[in-house]
Symmetry: D2
């Protein structure tokens, strides 16, 4: 029988930027009446040491999890490791847990992998919860937006942890028209549905993020272009040039107030300009991670158009030169049918 | 010689949703030491009457502008009429103004039209200022984000008007790292450059708006699809289905707190769900206005890629059925080479 | 020991439009010195009967394959069934074959499924070859373009079959500059590489097909639009209309001769116009099959941009109304921030 | 009164690759009973000299056109100069022509400029015809596909010229189902409608060309990628790699026979591979000319989706690095919200 009044026994596995701050935020935010004991582990002993110095219980190996098994208060392990080792880590962890324990995958896992993980863990008596975690490096201070998948009774037990991590109801004005009790979504965490649904919603969230980022990037690219001058052909065979010496740091700043495109991404863009007005620190080679890819691939499975999300993903591929061969083919075709030579300038 | 201490003499021409609220907000927000006298005009006498009842000076015709000419305090006319009549309205207004007056085009005018307008108005001694005005129906309360083009000394004189309209410095947290005096961009208005530059920046702003909106729309479309089930072919010839009974009103609500995609557009989407959880009030036929089109056309003139902005525009065209003939061509081709009949289902 | 001089023993399983014509073309085209015995099977007894009447050996069940096993002349089974039953059909067939036999998958199978199939078939001593087959309903007369994956020695033995099916060297002018022996590619069949590579190349072929089709469709859509008139806003605030009463059947006809866009797809489009000048027989609901989807999903795995291929796929989804919810979201947003009502017209 | 039986008096102005070959092809192809006298002019005296040596009448200046005016047999001037000087050249030519003469603009002019040109030329009594000319460097041998705009009686008189330039009816098989008299479209030239319609159809033709080219380029890019290996994440957290050592020259060759994507562009691509198997001669910086841009801009005016045509245009812009600033913005955003550093590899 569960000891519902005992402090939850939570271990964070993976103490990178996200995992360490998640440990810290839970510790800081849990209420007196819902305490959580927090252990930590990482393959880097240094990372464990740092957190131990902050008052967390450091484990020296995953095998230490064994000691925390308690039939009356089943332990909870939050896995926050890189996507490519998540599966193996969950496997290892599961070997040290008693039945009744819960594994939370808080990383960026493909939702169909979650479904598979939930299935085999269930067979050995371990509950699985997937948590899409948005918030980035600002999460420690701002809190994290949490999208959660799993069985209701399992998720419910974890509520104090999610509540501690979430930004809280005061972090945004209440949506006009809403009345009655505050929902958990208004606190910043949502039980979306069964296994995989948390990561599904987070995946789409990231797809939207790609699209919105690309919208700003394309727009600012055009504003940058007008600084060098845009030549317009006119209908009657002439040309005119438009050139404006715009200050883009000021433009993004003014959009932060009252405009339709105000957003947190815009706030961050403005900060980036503040620190590096010409963006000289960036070479323009843009990485992408699994979720942008999975979103478009899943949209294709679903038969739903994803022109914007797809284009935002493809532009990242092109930013890394992955369109080079295609462009050689185009130049070769132009050479053959028109005798055209390649462009020398923009 | 200008009487710099006299109240600015401003007339708002065009009392639709935007124009009326602009008049109201200026009246409400101007400080005691920078008063503005506000007249109003509209082709609808009723609209003028409504504003007159609120204490504004109603003009009965544009010819009434003549009476307001004052060499010591040149008057200012803010034109806020539909794009298609803006040119003609400016022409009419100019006929009643003395040299030294200023015409502000606050509507959604193509920036190259502004350049032309500024040129011919200059020849008759009238100053021209273009103002891109973002804020929509919420502007009266939240203030408007203002992107301004024109000559510096002309724009400077209008500062009290812009300051009254802008949301003000407290409407967003100061960008971290910024120090020193508050810029006008931090108040919500920005002198971007010479004639046309205000509308240029506003045009691109709207292009970004289209792209960001489409990002949310495509993502929510995919979340909607998973409610009906997505069938995935598996690499080994089988199939699996994913189905989650997501509550999208809750999903957008949770994203408002701590997530990377938090934005004003998301706040509004959440409100829309609050009022109409299934979006039953909408048929999905999406209008577009000039600025989205001009942004992509200008990006083409500039030679800058606009895949996301273009796709967001094209999806609106398709939403109105303008892809029908293209789709018939595709079906005809498929019939011819493969004997395929048309799709009956999704 | 193989009896290399004996006629190849081939069975076609699946006698739909493609399978039946493949049987017919092989029968008609094989040379006297490389005869092929052809059996046929289909789950429809009527289909078998039709082919039997044409001189093929009809099998009454897959179990009849057993009788054809011959250690000295291992039999070959060409599977040409719908993608969703291909895996199961191969499984059933394998149960009746002796070691040394070859199964050809001529359908539209995902290349990673081929790799899996080749692996498990190899374990039971059966060779596997995947053949991407392009040519549609015209293949019987024009021949099929064949893209082949599998082990070289296995593929080599099948050459008489592929040669019979391919269009032959005379079907296109020799590529200028080519000298020396005619390659099989110049006959119309190509051993691309190991298992799956045939279907991989065919998959990409179909992706290109989608993109090229969409290029024509979008262009013809614009030509259709100018028949109703296009309104151009002019830079100085006016409007002009362009309207041309184009005859699109004539336009596609003229492009067939000497233009850069001449192609077989254009020939077919012209035929479609000949039969149905207004394309009234088509509703514009465009199906898609696995290969277009797999191409884009694989491009994403590969990190290569696929804007055109993706857009051509997404436009088919939209043609079936799968963008409806996205468009409702857009209308809802526009309503909220701007008080805009939905578009009534194009 | 016109002397209908006299040889047409034609002058080609502009003796670049296109203009010189047009002169040559007309000379070679005109029938005995419809002779054409051909004069030539170019700003380069050398170019005139070359053609004079081939038997054409060389003019030493545009003023020489004056001598060719003949009220009974009004002369025809075909302008084939770069787009940016077309307007000025037409202006100059018009000053030397008598009423009743015809100016043909055979270059790549924006159709709205044609409409303007036709208007002012009509006022001075000169007829104007716009001819979209497709065929590239192969036109001399293959003939040109001609899309013609202008008044019917003016165009009709020019028929011998168009017939000489067009590829002729034998250049493609008759479209199945067509019966009766051969149309001019079946010969390779088409009177599309009034002024501008020829260039409108040619503009869209080029837009389609961009889209179709990009379809091949994206597909071949993916085939190139699989040569280096594609890593697929699997649903259960693993990875698999696909690597095929494809010979793309052979792939394009096999597609030329019997496949759905057979086309002239594919023939040319195969030639390019024949000459340069790795496309090492190309850097991948792809030029674009006006017509691709105008097509997409006009589609936007028309409100018709052009995702594929737009994407194919934008990919050329990106090939020239015009997406650099956008990519810097993306990297800056990723740095700010996630602390991410830029991608180092593909």
């Amino acid at each position: 029988m569960n000891n519902a009044s005992a402090p939850l026994q939570l271990t964070i596995v993976g103490l990178g930027r996200m995992g360490a701050n998640i440990a810290r935020r839970i510790k800081r935010e849990v209420l007196a009446n819902t305490p959580v004991n927090i252990s930590v582990f990482d393959v880097s002993a240094d990372a464990v040491k740092t957190l131990s110095a902050e008052g967390f219980t450091g484990l020296s190996s995953l095998a230490d999890l064994k000691k925390q098994n308690d039939a009356a208060n089943p332990q909870i392990v939050w896995v926050m490791v890189p996507a490519e080792v998540t599966g193996a880590t969950i496997k290892s962890i599961s070997e040290h847990l008693d039945k009744g324990a819960t594994i939370i995958d808080g990383g960026n896992t493909f939702y169909r992998e979650d479904i598979a993980n939930a299935d085999w863990l269930k067979e050995i008596g371990i509950d699985f919860v997937d948590v899409g975690t948005s918030g980035g490096v600002f999460g420690l201070e701002r809190g994290y937006s949490l999208m959660i998948g799993g069985e209701k009774k399992v998720v419910d037990r974890l509520t104090p942890i999610f509540r501690a991590l979430a930004p809280g109801v005061e972090s945004a004005e209440r949506t006009p028209g809403k009345t009655g009790a505050i929902s958990t979504a208004e606190e910043g965490f949502l039980h979306c549905g069964p296994a995989g649904s948390g990561h599904f919603v987070k995946m789409v969230h990231n797809g939207i993020e790609y699209g919105a980022m690309a919208a700003y990037a394309e727009g600012l690219n055009l504003l940058d272009a007008v600084r060098n001058g845009i030549t317009h052909p006119t209908a009657v065979g002439g040309k005119s040039e438009t050139k404006y010496d715009l200050d883009l740091a000021q433009v993004t700043e003014v959009w932060r107030r009252g405009s339709v495109v105000a957003s947190w991404l815009l706030d961050l863009t403005t900060q980036a300009y503040e620190e590096d007005p010409k963006l000289d620190n960036y070479a323009g080679s843009v990485a992408d991670s699994g979720e942008g890819r999975w979103t478009v691939q899943t949209a294709i499975d679903a038969g739903t158009p994803a022109n914007v999300l797809g284009a935002s993903l493809f532009s990242r591929f092109a930013s890394r030169g992955n369109d080079l061969y295609a462009n050689k083919v185009l130049s070769a075709m132009r050479k053959k049918f028109g005798g055209h030579t390649e462009a020398k300038s923009k």
